[in-house]
Subunit: 321 residues, 2 copies
């Protein structure tokens, strides 16, 4: 949400020249993502996004993320394509930070996704999952179920400061979900953070998917469960079965969920809600009250967990087998 790192004129010019992008005609710091510094570059050859990676991104994971974007773009997925420099490298250094430049994607993210957006999203997600099956790099999901208990331990004593009763709720969820978490479902590369602000639409089609900086190897159907949480609840916190159904239908037009995946949907959806409740609660406690970048309100995910506790069958989510 903020530009953190400033780039000197000549360093930027050298970086642009080193990537064969033509002459720079404009450079604007943009509020895309909260983790990194992003600039929208306009050059005589087109538009690009320049990203300087700040502390929260681990440099050793950059080849996984950028290689994945190149892999997916090569298979026709509408994601940013990293531009390699004259030496063939995807990652350079700019203003003392690891930096990469990618192609720009047209389109607008939607704040209030409709049923048709959910259908397009489901279809794109399945296409991404298939396209990623032969991606050769591996990255574990640091925010998968094995990471939930350690993350919670960092703020458990303060959890009720977020809201009264949160400690009890989280501990119940951990105790319920971890022992029965489905481990044998089809695995692959997942986006793991496919919220509406990471997806662009244009003229009735899905025109772009961005922000692969949580991508990892994990259960494919869990990625769909993240999207159910991110796309299929209304402003009042109620699950919208029509949106869920559209997303499942879109997904299954491209990749059919097997019986085990279908049966696991309620559990995966509830686990995905817990994952975001944990990170949002932690960020909520760690962010100064007067910071300009406000953390997301964890309460949205308290509400979702309460919903998931009632939705115990895949059919209740709109999945028609």
């Amino acid at each position: 949400m903020a530009v953190y790192t400033q780039v000197a004129d000549h360093d930027l010019a050298r970086f642009v020249a080193g990537h064969g992008l033509g002459e720079l005609t404009s450079c604007k710091g943009i509020a895309e993502g909260v983790e990194n510094t992003n600039y929208l570059l306009v050059t005589t050859t087109g538009r690009y996004i320049l990203t300087l990676y700040e502390k929260r991104v681990d440099v050793k994971d950059l080849p996984f993320y950028l290689g994945l974007m190149e892999h997916l773009a090569g298979k026709g997925i509408a994601c940013p394509l990293p531009v390699r420099d004259a030496r063939g490298d995807q990652v350079g250094v700019l203003a003392g930070r690891p930096a990469a430049v990618c192609t720009f994607l047209d389109g607008l993210s939607v704040r209030q996704p409709g049923v048709s957006h959910c259908a397009l999203l489901g279809e794109m997600l399945a296409r991404m999952h298939l396209a990623g099956l032969d991606y050769p790099r591996i990255r574990a999901n640091a925010l998968g179920p094995s990471g939930w208990q350690p993350l919670y331990a960092r703020f458990s004593a303060r959890a009720d400061q977020v809201q009264p009763g949160l400690r009890g709720l989280i501990e119940e969820e951990l105790a319920t979900l971890l022992p029965v978490w489905p481990m044998g479902l089809p695995q692959g590369v997942i986006h793991a953070d496919l919220f509406p602000d990471n997806v662009f639409f244009l003229g009735g089609r899905l025109s772009g998917v961005i922000d692969f900086y949580f991508a990892c190897n994990d259960t494919l159907a869990y990625d769909l469960a993240v999207c159910l949480n991110a796309w299929c609840f209304d402003a009042a916190g109620r699950y919208d079965r029509a949106k869920g159904q559209a997303m499942f239908d879109g997904y299954q037009r491209v990749r059919k969920l097997n019986e085990d995946e279908q049966a696991a949907v309620p559990l995966l959806a509830r686990g995905a809600a817990l994952r975001f409740l944990l990170t949002r609660s932690y960020d909520w406690l760690e962010t100064p009250a007067d910071a300009i970048v406000k953390p997301h309100d964890p309460d949205d995910y308290v509400q979702r967990i309460r919903c998931h506790r009632e939705l115990v069958t895949a059919a209740a989510y709109g999945l028609e087998s």
Copy 2:
């Protein structure tokens, strides 16, 4: 530096349609200016900057600012042109905020201006001054000399918290400058905040001037004095006479300074430094220590005042009569 106000999809679409901008293909929050929320819009007809005015801009001043931009653009000054809506209005309402959309200007701001940039800036400033002479609206300079003492009174008791001795320095400057401040020099519309980040260059020419939200009626030569402070000091805080000379020469190729203006340069430059020292000191004290948007360091202007005390003739600034 940050996007403060979010806009709902349908509100944005309606605003864009109401201004006849074509179909929206992209919308990015950008880090232009610290006062307002700015979005870079790309549509089928071109690029635009959408500005939502936040609390620090007084709505009743918007007709002055936007009318000035239209006036100057109409006279060939490379500044953003506000796009009027179907009813002919420059200011609309979006997300509960006053909002305006302007044409986008290509070009890059320079962080380390050179002599040639200063020459181009001086010439553009004089052209703006001439172009503004018949602008019919009037706005007083709230940060002119009559505002310095009241602004200082708001933090005088805490001034030494910014740095030891600041209180004494400011009070000496106020006592020295206010009684002899030149009041009879040619007046007109001034930009009043023409720092390098508000000026774009492209291909060896000055391609744009932005951010007219401090523009007002005041002494024309004072605008030049602001630019001497903003453009002609090196990173070590020393005045660069060659840059000053280039700026004066550029200015005077378009508009010759009269003898009184020339003689007043040292005083005006010292006063302009005091004006920025006052606002930066105030912002420094009022901004929370952990805010993401860091206030400018007032010390730069303490150093400038010390320089100005030594530069007592116009010739010392590089002005050749």
